[in-house]
């Protein structure tokens, strides 16, 4: 039986791994260490027999606890190669300035978590046994907030800083209502979603937040006090939210039209 996670949720119950990860652990635990290590080698997630990184973290911690140093080093190296692959894809030089430094920082933070786990037995690595890639996204977000560029490289249009200025033109307002509003089912199309995600990623951070919250279905403002609104979440005036939205829509429309034309 794989050892349970130690990390507790806010309600006091323990975190658990998803059933498919538990199944992997049970399956791999029965295999001899040498054979197990060979199975860990795969890099391509599409390859059959690819062992998920969540399982690698479990066996990494197990190897350390049992003093199996050679096994620990091998799993460490495989895991770091996977992290590197993920970081080079997520924080590519093409996506943002200073990408190499940001990758260093995320890798460094991940190493810190492993080291602390080995030295002091805290439980933050538990998150990596639940959903490894997503936990890495959390670390990435945290690092980007500290040292990342405020916008990525692909900002498409001239940006304005007068968020709180006068209302922008009717033309933009119309454009924004046309965007998605006319055809929300477009969001179900994976190609459109991918293009949209890339386009949103290219927006200035303030506009990016507004668009992301709109896509999640949050209202800009509301007369009902207990409704969570974008203006409340972002702690700004609802007119500021609308202006950011309209500028973002205008930029997104241009990018997506260009995308479609290609």
């Amino acid at each position: 039986m794989p050892e349970a996670l130690k990390r507790k949720k806010k309600d006091g119950t323990r975190y658990t791994r998803p059933p498919e990860i538990e199944a992997w652990l049970e399956k791999i635990e029965k295999i001899e260490p040498l054979d197990r290590l060979r199975r860990f080698e795969g890099f391509s997630k599409r390859a059959s027999g690819y062992v998920p990184s969540e399982a690698l973290v479990y066996f990494l911690r197990k190897a350390w606890a049992e003093g199996a140093r050679a096994e620990f080093e091998k799993i460490f190296r495989i895991l770091l190669r996977r992290v590197e692959q993920s970081l080079n894809s997520a924080i590519s030089d093409a996506r943002m300035d200073g990408a190499a430094e940001i990758r260093d920082e995320v890798r460094g933070r991940f190493l810190e978590l492993i080291t602390k786990d080995c030295n002091e037995k805290p439980d933050l690595l538990d998150f990596f046994e639940i959903r490894f890639d997503k936990a890495l996204v959390a670390i990435r977000t945290s690092v980007l907030r500290k040292i990342g560029p405020s916008t990525v490289k692909t900002v498409p249009l001239e940006q304005h800083n007068d968020d709180d200025g006068s209302e922008i033109s009717d033309e933009v307002e119309t454009a924004s209502t046309e965007f998605l509003g006319g055809n929300p089912s477009k969001l179900d199309d994976p190609a459109f979603r991918s293009a949209l995600a890339a386009a949103i990623d290219g927006l200035p951070v303030e506009q990016k937040r507004v668009i992301s919250l709109l896509l999640e279905g949050f209202p800009i403002d509301s007369k009902e006090r207990d409704v969570m609104t974008i203006a409340h979440i972002l702690q700004c005036d609802e007119r500021t939210v609308r202006n950011r939205r309209d500028r973002a829509y205008k930029a997104l429309k241009v990018i997506l039209q260009e995308e479609n034309a290609q």
């Binding site: 949720k9 806010k10 975190y15 998803p18 997630k45 003093g67 140093r69 050679a70 620990f72 080093e73 460490f76 190296r77 770091l80 190669r81 590197e84 692959q85 993920s86 080079n88 894809s89 997520a90 430094e101 260093d104 920082e105 890798r107 460094g108 190493l111 810190e112 492993i114 080291t115 080995c118 030295n119 002091e120 037995k121 933050l124 998150f127 959903r131 890639d133 997503k134 936990a135 996204v137 959390a138 670390i139 977000t141 945290s142 907030r145 979603r193 991918s194 995600a197 890339a198 949103i200 990623d201 990016k208 937040r209 992301s212 919250l213 949050f218 969570m228 979440i233 972002l234 702690q235």
Partner: protein, 196 residues
């Protein structure tokens, strides 16, 4: 504020949010409601998760040099060579056990941290003190001495920061460490009495 309220770091909140099985309106709203102080971070994380869902990791990459460097950094920071010749006897102590060990040795946490991080020249530590430390740790005195004699550790939390070149603390003598650790006069005198 109630005594039960425990501050949770931005990173911990983001990790908890990121590993949720679904990232829909309800999940985000729940986290925004529970951690309004981390609202921007949560929204930023939900954007990164959205961008992440549409990309592929299939980049061809030769990462051996980076992985080698990461392994060396890890070894230096963990203070535990792979051959196990100098096992860190402090490794299994949680913060409470660490404090309790300091109390049993009649020293404070600061001096114990200096010992743990090998910021003190092992040759200057009184033998009787090492024996007492080993007895409390439940480890052979030789093993504890071997650990204390190995190279000083990098300060945890700064070891991997790329902006700062990783560096180890220069070791000081036991006597100097005792003087600089804000011990009480009684603790000071007791340690002096242990001198070889």
């Amino acid at each position: 504020m109630t005594a039960k309220h425990v501050a949770i770091s931005e990173e911990e909140v983001l990790l908890a949010f990121a590993v949720e099985p679904i990232h829909d309106h309800q999940t985000l709203e729940r986290y925004l409601g529970e951690y309004p102080e981390h609202a921007n971070a949560l929204v930023d994380c939900s954007i990164e998760l959205m961008v992440d869902a549409t990309r592929s990791d299939e980049v061809s990459l030769n990462s051996e040099a980076v992985v080698d460097q990461a392994w060396q950094q890890f070894q230096a920071a963990v203070g535990k060579p792979v051959d196990g010749s100098a096992v860190n006897p402090f490794a299994t102590l949680n913060p409470t056990a660490f404090k309790s060990l300091a109390k049993k040795l009649n020293i404070n946490n600061l001096l114990l941290i200096r010992l743990r991080d090998r910021a003190i020249d092992a040759a200057t530590i009184p033998r009787r003190f090492v024996q007492g430390l080993a007895a409390e740790l439940g480890a052979p005195a030789d093993a504890v001495m071997a650990y204390l004699c190995s190279p000083p550790a990098m300060v945890s939390g700064h070891s991997f920061r790329s902006a700062v070149k990783p560096a180890v603390t220069e070791q000081i003598s036991f006597e100097k460490a005792v003087e600089a650790s804000h011990l009480t006069q009684a603790q000071h005198d007791a340690l002096k009495a242990l001198k070889d």
